[in-house]
Every structure is written in C-alpha cells, then in structure tokens.
Symmetry: C2
Subunit: 252 residues, 2 copies
C-alpha cells in the first residue's frame, strides 16, 4: 500500500495499516513501522482480541501511541456464528451474528472505551466507528439519560463512583467518536448518525463490495443518500472528504 501511494499519489492520497490485536507487542511494533517508516495515516483494528475487550491495560499503549501521532484508528466489528444469541444454543442462527451482532460489538467497544476513561486520559484520541457508529446514534436516549443513571440497576459494583469520577456525562464521550456513512443506503440512518456526531465527525464510507451487486451498489446508494441530505454544501464536502483530509493530516 505504501508503494501504491508513492506511485499513484493522485489516486491514493494515503493508506491505513491493519494492525493485529492478538499480540500487543507486535501491535505496537507494526503501528510504529507503518506510521513512522511507511507513512501510514492511520490504523485499523478489530473490536475484540479473540474475545477479550480492548479496554484491558495491555492495549492502552497502542491507543496512547495513536493519540501521540494524532491520527485516527478505524475499528471494525468482529464476531462469528460461534457467539450464540441464546443461552440454550451454541451458535447464532440466520447470520444474526453479523446483521445485528457486529453493530452490537461496535457499541460495546465504544461503551468500554468510554467507561475506561480513555478520553479523559487521551482527549484528542480519534476513533472511527463503522456502520454509522453502531447502535449509538439511534439509542442516544439510552446512552444519554439512560446511562446518566448508571448503577441504578447494578449491585456489587460502584458505578455511581465511576460516574462521579468521569469529567463529563457518558453521552458527551460517546459523541467524541467519529462515525462513517456505511449504512448501506439508508437515509434515515445517515441522518440519525449526522444528528448525533455532527458534521465534523462523520466520514464517507460505503462498505463496498459487500452488497448484492458485489461492489457498485453500496457506493452508488451511499452517494445518493449523502447528496440527498438536507445540509449545506460545505457540510456535504466535509462528509465526502474534508473531515478525512483534516483527520488524516493530508493537504487539500
């Protein structure tokens, strides 16, 4: 990818590096190599490490490093049919594991990051969440007044104390994530995403080639959705490229 960017700079203005979450030493090493030696403008990770959450202390150096670079981390949900939806079963049926399970993974990742206080430690951390920001924009009421009451449904954990230690309301941290427009051509979902994160924190993505046409459909439909949004042309330009140019530190 570094070679492609060097050879065709007009077509490929930058690349991001996929780094493993399976081995935190290798993760850090590859992040440094990609960002410092190869010139990557961001990294991509998955939402869990073989079933372990990414708010564990061993992943913190990676997030610190990316905050230091001031470059974004793309986070892709991961879950397989082996994650059952019912206690009585051992597999997820009907591909529910990706249809709803992946956005659930994204949302859980976001919640774990928020309550691990990562944004208090790293206020400029830039995390790009997939599929319009998971379930968060639609369930802003649960993230808002809902999680303001964290602890009221729990015994045995001092979540009231945790809330008191956070500098802001939980929802304010959820708004610090960035979301993409990969909602598979849904105008209401894209409007919901934009309303939650605001025009400076939404970036274009289409989820190509995972559509029934194997590529062109989600690109075409996502462009149609964005062109149809009732927003200013300046805001539309931010979604299409302005926010990406700024976040990735590219020249316009």
């Amino acid at each position: 990818m570094a070679e492609l960017v060097a050879r065709y700079p007009d077509r490929f203005p930058g690349f991001i590096a996929s780094v493993t979450v399976a081995d935190t030493d290798a993760m850090l090493e590859e992040t440094e190599r990609a960002m410092e030696t190869l010139g990557a403008v961001g990294t991509q990770i998955f939402t869990n490490a073989g079933g372990r959450p990414l708010d564990l202390p061993e992943f913190r150096p990676f997030f610190r490093k990316m905050a230091e670079y001031d470059r974004p981390i793309w986070v892709h949900p991961t879950r397989s049919a082996g994650f059952a939806d019912y206690a009585s079963e051992d597999r997820s049926k009907y591909e529910i594991w990706w249809a709803f399970g992946w956005p659930y993974e994204t949302s859980t990742f976001m919640a774990r990051m928020v309550f691990s206080k990562i944004f208090d430690e790293l206020p400029n951390l830039k995390i790009i969440t997939h599929h319009g920001g998971g379930m968060v924009p639609f369930f802003e009421g649960r993230v808002g007044p809902g999680l303001d009451q964290l602890g009221s449904r729990t015994s045995g954990e001092d979540y009231k104390q945790l809330l008191a230690e956070l500098k802001h309301r939980p929802i304010d941290y959820f708004r610090l994530f960035i979301a993409d427009t990969a909602t598979f051509g849904s105008s209401p979902a894209t409007e919901c995403t934009l309303a939650f994160f605001g025009e400076d924190r939404v970036v274009f993505a289409s989820d190509a080639p995972f559509d029934p046409e194997k590529g062109p459909m989600y690109i075409r439909e996502t462009i149609k959705v964005i062109d149809g949004l009732d927003i200013s042309d300046a805001a539309r330009r931010k979604l299409y490229y302005g926010n990406a140019v700024r976040l990735l530190g590219l020249s316009n």
Copy 2:
C-alpha cells in the same frame, strides 16, 4: 386490572395481560383466561424463555391463539448482566446488558420470528416491539440488502433454500412488526422508526418511569418529539391513539 377497567372505563379503556413464557401450558391457559374471561385486549411477553428463543415449536400455539384473537402481543426485551459481552468474561459490564443488550434481544427475537416463517403462517399476527423496534429501523440496510444475501457468509446450513421458501424478502417481514415510540426523547430515532414501519404501525409509549426524574421526563419528552415530527395531524393522531384503538379493537 380488569376491575380497574370496569370501574374507570373513561380512564382505562383496556388492559393487557402479562403471560409467562416459562411454562407453555400455563402461558396458553392464562392467555385464554385473560383474553376470554377477563377481557384483556392484548398480551405481553418477554423476548426469551430463560435463555430459549421463542421460535421453538412449543411457543407457536400462543402466537396462533393471539392471531386468532386478532389482538397484539407486546414484547419486552430481557437480559441480565449474566449475559457477557466478551468470551473472556462472565458478566456484562457498565450495564451494557440493558443499554445495548435489550435492543439486541428485541432485534434477535424479530429475526428469529421472521426466519421461522411465522408471518407466512399467521399473516395477521400483531407484535408490538419496544424502543422503536430495536435495532431494525436504523439498520434497515442490513435487514434489507444485507439479509437478501443470507447464506453467503454461512456454510453447513442451507439458508439459500430458506430464502427461496419465504414468500417475501426478509425486510418485508420485518416491516410487519409494530414499533412503539419509547426512544427516550430522541427525535432522529423516532423519525427513523416512523420511516421504517410507517404511520400505521407505530404506537405511543414513553418508557415511564425509567427516566432520571422517575416518571414525568420520558412522557414529556416523547410528547415533545411527536408534536415536533414533520407529519400530518392525522398521522400524529394515529401515533397518539388511532393505531392503538384499531389494534386493540376499542371504540374511538
């Protein structure tokens, strides 16, 4: 509740009966008693039976019975902290189990109903889903072109055959559910719900008293959201009571 309705008909035009999913004989018996003897206008169940999905054959008589009565079933999500979000853990942290887990439960319930072909058997079945219809309205693109490709990510199950057996696209069945307006005062979420289910399949609900004010807030904010929707007054009346009057068979 039957007594209250009899005593104060102007204030309580009808009641619905909560029926157990733990014992399917008792479930059916109580449904018959409530609907036929006590005059209930609907029933309420939870999304799983101690961890078992409701598309199992033993629950089908209940759904047949409610379709026969032509009265709705309210479905409330259920999940506790004991349902872990990560394979490496045994509990869900930070109350993610209700914040995101409940809408996930609702969505999974809906998918299981759809793919069990219940709507082909019982086309007039009326199921009212909570919290704006779970994740379905926001993820209409996953439910739509996504699930049109059911089977492409699975081996060992003949989902292509299942798709061929269904009379309609998966998304068309998801649109047969009814959703409530309990989005905790979120305008974008309510608009998303309305866009997906349409003005004839959305009914008022507030989720009172589970707000920080312990009651009035979600009622007040939900009314504010519905009053602010860019829809006709006729549509607004449907949301507030018209659809409920029709679904419950009440006189207006």
